[in-house]
Symmetry: C2
Subunit: 333 residues, 2 copies
């Protein structure tokens, strides 16, 4: 289905751009990222406010952007996130960049889509520590939000469905097209160096591409972490089995996107690998049963860094002020 | 000196705009905010990155923007800020908006200027919990920063002096001109309503303007909190005496700016007043020995809301990634 979609897309593109391009790019297991289309701008703008809105947390301090920081690679670059009252989160925060391309959300795919995901952290006692009811109460007390929700959704009452829909709409805009690798895919032979090309060749021939493929270079399947050799970690997360109850899916996690992987360290669901060099070594060993040479590793890392795309230009939203009646946050008790 | 500066400025402006304007605005104890000028754009752009840079904290989680949130009113809107490991800060975070107009920085004025202020929270164990040495080490390990500092400062070595100078340069851009009140000051008679004008008249006749005057409507002097009647608070801060050692300055705090006061709740150094209504009541009582009627209070509050200016449009910076050698943050131990 996904594959078919890609084929259709490239058939369409080839009509536009000519057979030369289509032959080059559509043969590759990685496809260029497309710009976001069909965005409802007013909804996305509201969603951006909510994404940066600390009043969706109990403390009034934590927003989506705290852990999925858009000044960085859409993550917090620490092994596990900091939640309400500085609680240590259970898992590395996945990047929000290109998350619209994921087959499902969260490492274990427990949310079918961005909209379903968006409500999770708000009500998670380990993360934003709030409740959906309290979050909606806060928003409903703020005149600026009341009028903007009404304008966007045409209803007199704010509810969580609207909140998560708006956040998801904003998140759909967070794609990163035009990486050097995509420029190469689209026919600019000089966009990447010989070393980077060698890295890509290795990435394919070694089998990395079996899981890291498609537009997001990952994100489209669940795979066992520790396929060839058990992966040693102190992290108790068991992955997909927690969702399906299927014992065969223990330690199956969503394959992370490698787009912007230069920015999304530390790596893996436990954030245990600080560098790409380390991550490539570990992946080779536990997933592929391979020991990359120093040179091979460096080539693959060089290739991976060509996947850094154009991050969206984000104008910081101007959040509407609370009203006198707005419930105040509760950071310390 | 400040007054003389204002007089000179308005003399100059009157030449440009004609005598009609000068007569209207220069008679008022509050003066319009001028746009930031003389900004070194490259330095400010670097400073913006540093302002949003969580790697200046021990945890890798807290940046200047965490507590002086530019998506809001340049503050965190909680009575006392959240620091490293969720420590409760000692005092309400003052707004960074228009802080370049302050006579000195912090509530007790212990920093002479923005540059001197900027280093404080980074090394404060209650706030970002880092050290200047470690912060400079981190920045110096990041290629993107190394080249940008070199470009801006023309030196091969990053130091704290450059860091704080860049942050201060960015902060100088954070002025909020063109509030409705300023439009009125500049001659647009209809920019504020009759009720708001009545509030301004009361603000002057009641004596509020004795401390809240000038471009920032405050920020230019230290005054005793509890002048007429002692101010009751659990907050142990003693204000200016901590800086000068002069017992007569106990409970003297910098008069906060009232620019954008609609956005900077809760009010006072202890953040004890949640609403403007409450703040105006308390100020009347403890500073002026006055009990405003409900109508008077509402008029003053209406006037105060005309001081909300145009917040700067801020494009979120794109922070350069850490390198392999970059020391990793330490959020949990």
């Amino acid at each position: 289905m996904k594959q078919k979609h890609l084929v259709n897309m490239f058939a369409a593109l080839s009509l536009t751009l000519g057979a030369g391009f289509a032959a080059a790019a559509s043969d590759e297991p990685i496809q260029p990222i497309k710009a976001a289309t069909g965005i409802n701008q007013a909804k996305a703008e509201l969603g951006k406010k909510l994404y940066f809105e600390p009043r969706l947390s109990k403390s009034g301090f934590i927003s989506c952007n705290s852990c999925h920081n858009l000044a960085r690679g859409g993550t917090d670059n620490i092994p596990s996130s900091i939640g309400d009252r500085w609680q240590q989160g259970p898992i590395k925060a996945p990047t929000v960049l290109n998350s619209s391309l994921n087959v499902a959300q969260f490492w274990d795919g427990r949310a079918a889509n961005l909209k379903e995901q968006a409500g999770g952290p708000i009500a998670n006692p380990m993360e934003m520590g709030f409740t959906h009811t309290l979050a909606v109460n806060v928003l409903s007390s703020i005149p600026g939000y009341v009028s903007e929700f009404k304008q966007v959704f045409g209803k007199n009452k704010i509810d969580m469905d609207q909140v998560t829909e708006a956040i998801a709409e904003f998140e759909k805009t967070l794609v990163t097209p035009n990486s050097r690798f995509d420029q190469w895919l689209l026919g600019n032979e000089n966009a990447i160096t010989a070393e980077e090309k060698a890295g890509y060749a290795l990435f394919k021939s070694s089998g990395c591409v079996a899981c890291h493929n498609g537009e997001a270079v990952g994100g489209n399947s669940f795979q066992k972490m520790g396929l060839v050799e058990p992966y040693n970690t102190n992290n108790p997360a068991e992955g997909r089995v927690a969702v399906t109850g299927n014992d065969a899916e223990r330690f199956n996690f969503k394959v992370p996107t490698l787009r912007n992987v230069e920015l999304t360290y530390p790596y893996f669901h436990d954030g245990a690998a600080n560098t790409l060099t380390e991550a490539v070594n570990t992946m080779g060993r536990v997933q592929l049963g391979k020991k990359f040479t120093t040179k091979e590793n460096a080539q693959i890392v060089a290739f991976l860094k060509t996947l850094t795309g154009e991050r969206p230009n984000i104008t910081l939203p101007q959040l509407p002020p609370s009203a006198d009646k707005t419930p105040r946050p509760n950071p310390f008790n």
